[in-house]
Amino acid sequence: MIATEIETYQDQHAAFQTGSSPDWLVALRQRGLDAFTRLGLPTRKLEDWRFTNVSSLTKTAYDAGTNGLTAGDTASSEAIAEASDLLQQASLDEDYHRLVFINGRYNEKLSQIHDVNSGVVIDTLANALSNRPGEVQQQLESELDFNDSAFAALNTAFVGDGAIIDVPEGVTLDRPVHLVFLSTGSGRTLSNPRNLIRIGKGGKANVIESFMGHGDSYFTNAITQVTLADSAELDHHKLQHEQVGALHISTTGVDQKASSRFRSHYFSFGASIARNELDCLLDGENIETTLNGLYMPTGDQLMDCRTRIDHAMPHCNSYELYKGILDDKAKGVFNGKIFVREDAQKTDAKQSNQALLLSDDAVVNTKPQLEIYADDVRCTHGATIGELEEDALYYLRARGVPADLARQILIFAFANDVVQGVELPAVRRHLESVLLDGHDLSEDIL
């Protein structure tokens, strides 16, 4: 990191800190900034960044939004018009709760929160911070380990808005919550949304995060913190459709307690560099964790998917399926870590990573990683990389399907495997149409 860049953020941070924030928040942001200054941007010498080069960031001074954070609408009417446009494409189902963020700030006009059961909270972080900061303090300060992650530290330095979803004990949320993060304008904006999701004992929820933007030079640096109490269930979807020149870095931390169930569905289509980190701590018995992912870079895109499943307690199962389809000069990186701690007997962990290369200039780097310290466990992982099956192509062609169409059908089928894991019909429809459009197929083949 070039010294002047850090200074840029420091100056912005100084302006950002002035306001009526509680002392602990000022201190937390300062710790974030200090950690970011100390760590600097990751270089390729770091094992976790070996294949992902973010050095282009040092050339750009981003605007982290220094005009202070206030609850309510700060976006200009121009931005709102642009955002409504984007929202049309992002929209899934009018019936869902919808929270829209423009350049990292909540926008009430475009959002829509239906009445909810008593005890359920669907709110914004900015609102919570100004009205009842005590409620979010613990989760914000909790062990998010920004000591080795410069981007988590940066997010913490500018933490101020995002979504809060609180589902109390025994409650099933009436409808899914759709969080829409939009970047507008042509400036070099940096948004640092921070989402807090808490599901109480036996509670259930569905959350979808969508990312979209206009303009080519923005940077989204998002963090979502999920806490699942005993027997809680969460389906978490992430639809990454950033503009192709944008930078998207996000971290999701999940803390699961006994008998809880977490299912993640990650779909990555946009951004010039998209890096998604998913950290699951299985801190209780009989937990089930499912991580599904699909990344489809084309052109010069780079998509880096990282998952980490930490089996800390016995009798937990984890299932992971990540698929990549790479075209043109795209790069894909997959790193799936599975840790099985000494006490985590009877763990059953399965991981599978498959990548399809459609072009000779595309590159995929795969690194599954098992670290096992307990003996009574079953862990398997498989990785395959290759082109489309000759046999399957032959089969289709023998039945009169033209070569091009046969290829498209097989690619669609390969990707659709992951889509079928999604249970929400509106999300599934959205993804299917993205896939069909991408491959010029008609819906008839479904």
């Binding site: 094992e47 000494e342 007997q345 990548a355 290369l357 459609l358 072009s359 000779d360 200039d361 595309a362 590159v363 995929v364 780097n365 795969t366 690194k367 599954p368 990683q369 098992l370 670290e371 096992i372 310290y373 307990a374 003996d375 009574d376 466990v377 079953r378 862990c379 398997t380 992982h381 498989g382 990785a383 395959t384 990389i385 290759g386 082109e387």
Partner: protein
């Protein structure tokens, strides 16, 4: 299981049977490392000027390097100044026949089960015996010469075939390759050189037997094997060391070169002293091994059985340069007690239709930590490249660890890479089944473990397969519960 546990604990004190020390006067230099030491080693070996320059270049580069820390093993920092870099049994520097070898040395090898008298030698295996820093005897030299095969201690090869050595030395592993390869290049003492000329199928298996004897000595040997067009050779490597409380460093470099249609099969049974059950002492085995399939249709196959050493850290690799070349890696790595292993392979596919197979079996017992680390790379030109990897881990006991770090990089659409890994334990039900049929728990475990490793044993030369099986049983004694 508790009674079984107690019973098995009894066996836990595994015996290392090669732990004796040979009392022999040696000619060793002072501990420490400097340019003067490099010069001294070179002058003791009466080396030509170019080799001294080569060593110095490596040494100077080594000074600029830092000890790597990315591996998944833990050990205190090594003080490279405390080690002795040259130690040789005091005797005439050059021997004309085995009769001139010090009888004490012959006895040592006799005790290790490696008789050096040709009439007694295992049928059809030529042995080069390396004791500390020097080679003391090479058997069957004349028979091999008749076929045009050169099999010599490295230091003699430098004198007799300087052109060949110069041509291939460092051509696969350059002096600047990594920290320990650079150190080895600077101070390497001896090793084996082996050259199979065009069209020759080596009539017997070649073998080098390494023995560390002197205290505080690092062993830095260097092996170079060249198979010319259409040649074939099967090469075996074995090693042992006395029991000592201090850790000793063994940093070897092995280079293989296979030209068109040549095949090299390299087998290792590594049984360095692993340290005692408390983790005291033992060899640090930090080795760089790499083969280059330079020619079309060439083949290099690594087979290793790693049972010894406190820490094993090596990645025998193959660079598949020639079209249709084949690389293979078969490995069994056992870590019992406090042993740690970070081992695996690299397959770099450059040429068309190149194929590689990786079969790795890791067994952890006690508090041993076993890591597989491998890389498969399909470069742009590797049209129709094919790789299959399988890494299985077996856990015995609940305090050991098994880890896999496979890296896969593909840059060609027609290339196919498949990787599979699994981790499991010796099942209670499996042991129960075998015990019901009258086997003791220990035999049952041996049977299960040997079954687990069968795919690797099958590709070892026969005598080695037997030795490996025996070794594995010794290593795992008592570790089941």
């Amino acid at each position: 299981m508790t009674s079984e546990n107690a019973m098995l604990e009894e066996f836990a004190q595994r015996e290392y049977e090669h732990g004796f020390v040979t009392e022999i006067e040696s000619d060793a230099i002072e501990p420490g490392l400097s340019e003067d030491v490099v010069r001294l080693i070179s002058s003791k070996k009466n080396e030509p000027e170019w080799l001294l320059e080569w060593r110095l270049k490596a040494y100077r580069h080594w000074l600029t390097m830092e000890e790597p820390e990315w591996h998944n093993v833990k050990y205190p920092k090594i003080d490279h100044q405390a080690s002795v870099y040259y130690s040789a049994p005091k005797k005439k520097p050059k021997l004309n026949s085995l009769d001139e070898v010090d009888p004490i040395l012959l006895e040592t090898y006799e005790k290790l089960g490696i008789p050096l008298h040709e009439q007694k030698v295992l049928a059809n295996v030529a042995v080069d015996a390396v004791f500390d820093s020097v080679s003391i005897a090479t058997t069957y030299r004349e028979t091999l010469e008749k076929h045009g095969v050169i099999f010599l201690p490295f230091s003699e090869a430098v004198q007799e075939y300087p052109e060949l050595v110069k041509k291939y030395l460092g051509s696969v592993i350059p002096t600047s390759d990594n920290y320990y390869a650079a150190l080895n290049s600077a101070v390497f003492s001896d090793g084996s050189f082996c050259f199979i000329p065009k069209g020759v199928r080596c009539p017997m298996e070649l073998s080098t037997y390494f023995r560390i004897n002197a205290e505080n000595t690092g062993q830095f040997e260097r092996t170079l094997i060249v198979a010319e067009e259409g040649a074939y050779v099967s090469y075996l490597e074995g090693c042992t060391a006395p029991k000592r409380d201090e850790h000793q460093l063994h940093a070897a470099v092995v280079e293989l070169v296979a030209l068109d249609d040549a095949e090299i099969k390299y087998s290792t049974v590594q049984n360095w002293y692993p340290g005692d059950s408390e983790g005291k002492g033992g060899i640090y085995n930090f080795v760089t091994k790499r083969g280059a399939c330079r020619g079309e249709n060439s083949k290099i196959s690594w087979t290793q059985v790693e049972t010894g050493s406190a820490i094993t850290w090596k990645y025998p690799s193959v660079i598949l340069q020639g079209d249709n070349s084949v690389g293979e890696f078969y490995s069994v790595a056992v870590t019992a007690n406090h042993q740690q292993a970070d081992t695996g392979t690299k397959m770099i596919h450059i040429g068309k239709n190149t194929k590689s197979t990786i079969i790795s079996k890791g067994i952890s017992a006690g508090v041993g930590q076993n890591s597989y680390r491998g890389e498969v790379k399909m470069m742009k030109g590797a049209t129709n490249g094919r790789n299959f990897s399988q890494c299985d881990s077996l856990l015995i006991g609940d305090r050991c660890g098994a880890h896999t770090f496979p890296y896969i990089e593909v840059r060609n659409t027609t290339a196919k890479v498949e990787h599979e890994a699994s981790t499991s334990k010796v099942g209670e039900d499996q042991i129960y089944y075998l015990r019901q049929r009258g086997l003791s728990t220990e035999d049952a475990v041996n049977m299960i473990v040997n079954g687990f490793c069968k795919e690797v044993y099958d590709v070892l030369p026969m005598e080695f397969a037997l030795e490996a099986r025996k070794l594995l049983n010794v290593s795992l004694e008592g570790s089941v519960g």
